[in-house]
Subunit: 429 residues, 2 copies
């Protein structure tokens, strides 16, 4: 084993960072054995230097993150501050000053992964970020390395624990969205401002990262269709149950049937109870991967939290340190397929549509005609009448999102259709 | 991209080998892009050279595997012939003649992984074998790399598809063992001689490999306690259901509570229906990993079959080729903890015991006394009487296997105990 330690700079010392620092200290001998050299915490950049940080020597604390990454003797910068700036500038500076980088920053990687990878490659350094997607679950490494000889066709995942907790609660207790969100907040599963989670922004960033890696192309944040789950109702869950389904907020990355393009989207969807993702409870995450040769794989585990995220960060840290010692770099960005990302309108899936209609003869025929005119084939229709009002539940065969939208628009203009109560995609069949 | 191709020698061209060769041809451009250089099939060693092998040029076929691995221009040898010899000699010769090795040979890796790793390291070559455990499921790479900064405490897995198919069939249809085995054979899930699967030899080899990697120590095949699943009855499934459990053949690798030793074992066990492993159906595999920081992770997918196993082989092939190009080697064997493997007697778990007893007063007291004398604490007892005979179902609290065995031996010697109908461990709670 070499004796000169590898020097690690930690940017950010919150829930994850303090856990990373703790494990680096308590498991120093294990890490050294696995890396082939000791690792040393060389500096910790924080915003509030006065906060007591157990186990971290005060002389390592600094508020000057830029000076820390510019030191020149840092082997690995671990970026855990999140957000776009100053994280991007700090990572860039780190590469330029000879360090490799481990990051958990999904927003930044989703927005500018390509740019950062380009700088890393230019400087012959590593950029690893297993922790950016689905916390502790090994996902980026399996996609990038284990499946490197395979052709991934679909990634279907629950990648946001907050929304899964809320939906699971609605499913199991019959609670409404607000009630379930309140419980998630009370238990610390939802932030004071839950927008990033419940509107699907967090999941969309992860979808962009996963799609890029899975399909060896570039998928930007703007390429990801995004629909939150705040409109999901107890009635939707009742409909789902009637179909032998439950509702999950899914991140779905797909290769088109002709192989010439890909799509990435985040939205609530019904999935059959028999699907392995249906039984993912609470704040757990799980990602289903379908490939040509391997078939169906699933990866399951805690998608957030200090210790789980630290586990992913440290796995990357060990890999990057090993690479430093051997003078190599790990597999970097791979975007050689240059597959274009198709808009949502081209996504093909099935739909569950609830309509409030007038309870009189001929309505079903009218509705069915509209579907037919838009080329959307109907699988089943269920009609329930009561006091002159009726509901019509239509489940379609596969159709493009554009056709479905056209259908729904036309339905809204029918006099006999009082309203479109809900439209929900059906996935995982 | 470098233009000189990396040369690959294939040893064995059966179900997996022919699929590897096929994908190397059909996906040549993808593999080249991901590796950074083209890969070329340089030779295929087979036993039956006259068999038609679609897509493989006849001039690549040879029966002289030794000459192939000795050629000196081979970059990677892919060993898919299985068994101990000649596989071991061929791998050794390959290393000595400058090649790295990808293998799917669980028997050989379980028996002599340490020896082969030592030769690989001596020659500064890679030895990768993701396909040796649980087919397509990325497991060795996540354990060795993703969790390299974490401390794994338990690996609990369904790692044999044949036995899972049989047990799933028994569970869902009420079939007996023989009937379910017959169906597995008819469907091609069980081999003509199913011994390696149903007696747990296959799973034990995988447990040895997983335990060694998970705990960074050496676990030999002889260190793994092994019990097959041929004695599992429909009555056992009925008992399991009564407890809210099902029965799976599990490979269990554990770190002792004091951290000073490890155990590895394969046996049928009851697990609660709520456990993610309980819902693994058919011939699928799944492995549950528990670690200090990451918490509970699960990896799920097809554990066997030509294409899935080829996916794992090719993932390794890409990694090894990348390493060749960068002049580095991947993480090799890691046995630095040198943790001893404790015998089965020291394993601590819970037990479900069915006794046939005389239906008369005082029997329960007698039985309870025997448990108490051996330090095995009882959780629940259920007594069912009929026609002078009765059955007593005891579920214990945690106890060592040695204490349990002592208890059972003493129970057998009681006049009032007519027989011990079944003993089943209870896991995953």
């Amino acid at each position: 084993m070499r004796t000169r330690p590898l020097k690690v700079a930690l940017l950010g010392c919150g829930v994850v960072g303090s856990e990373v620092a703790r494990i680096m200290t308590t498991h120093a001998a294990d890490l050294a054995a696995r890396i082939g050299a000791p690792v040393e915490l060389a500096g910790v950049a924080v915003r509030r230097p006065d906060k007591v940080r157990e186990g971290i020597p005060a002389e390592l604390i600094t508020t000057d993150a830029t000076a820390l990454v510019k030191r020149g003797d840092i082997d690995v910068v671990v970026e855990l501050i999140g957000g776009i700036e100053p994280a991007r500038s700090l990572i860039t500076t780190a590469f330029e000053h000879g360090a490799s980088v481990v990051s958990a920053n999904k927003a930044l990687l989703a927005q500018d992964g390509a740019g950062l990878h380009a700088i890393a490659e230019e400087q012959n350094k590593d950029l690893y970020y297993e922790a950016a997607v689905a916390g502790a679950i090994p996902l980026i490494r399996p996609l990038r390395e284990s499946l490197a000889g395979d052709k991934v066709n679909r990634v279907l995942g629950i990648v946001n624990g907050t929304t899964n907790f809320i939906l699971d609660k609605m499913d199991s207790t019959g609670a409404g969205y607000q009630e379930a969100l309140d419980e998630a907040s009370a238990l610390g599963y939802a932030e004071a401002d839950p927008t990033a989670d419940v509107e699907g922004f967090d999941a969309a960033a992860k979808a962009a990262i996963l799609a890029g890696i899975a399909f060896h192309t570039r998928v930007g944040l703007d390429d990801v269709y995004r629909e939150g789950m705040t409109e999901v109702t107890a009635a939707d869950f009742a409909s789902a149950k009637g179909m032998g389904c439950t509702i999950k907020l899914l991140a779905i990355c797909e290769r088109a049937a002709d192989g010439g393009s890909v799509t990435a989207r985040v939205h609530p969807a019904m999935i059959p109870l028999a699907h392995p993702l249906a039984s993912v409870r609470g704040a757990y995450n799980a990602v289903f991967v379908e490939s040509d040769a391997a078939g169906q794989l699933m990866f399951y585990g805690p998608g957030a939290g200090g210790a789980p995220t630290a586990s992913a960060v440290l796995g990357d840290l060990v890999a990057v340190c090993r690479n430093r010692i051997s003078g190599a770099t790990g597999p970097g960005a791979s975007a050689y397929t240059q597959l274009p990302v198709s808009p949502m309108g081209e996504v093909v899936t099935r739909y569950h549509i609830s309509l409030d209609v007038a309870d009189k003869p001929g309505v079903l025929a009218q509705v069915a005609t509209v579907f037919a005119e838009h080329g959307v084939s109907i699988d089943t229709v269920r009609q329930q009448g009561k006091d002159g009002e009726a509901s019509l539940v239509v489940v379609t065969h596969h159709a493009s999102d554009a056709s479905l939208n056209g259908t729904v628009e036309a339905l809204r203009s029918l006099d006999t259709v009082r309203g479109v109560a809900s439209i929900m995609r059906v996935e995982g069949e």
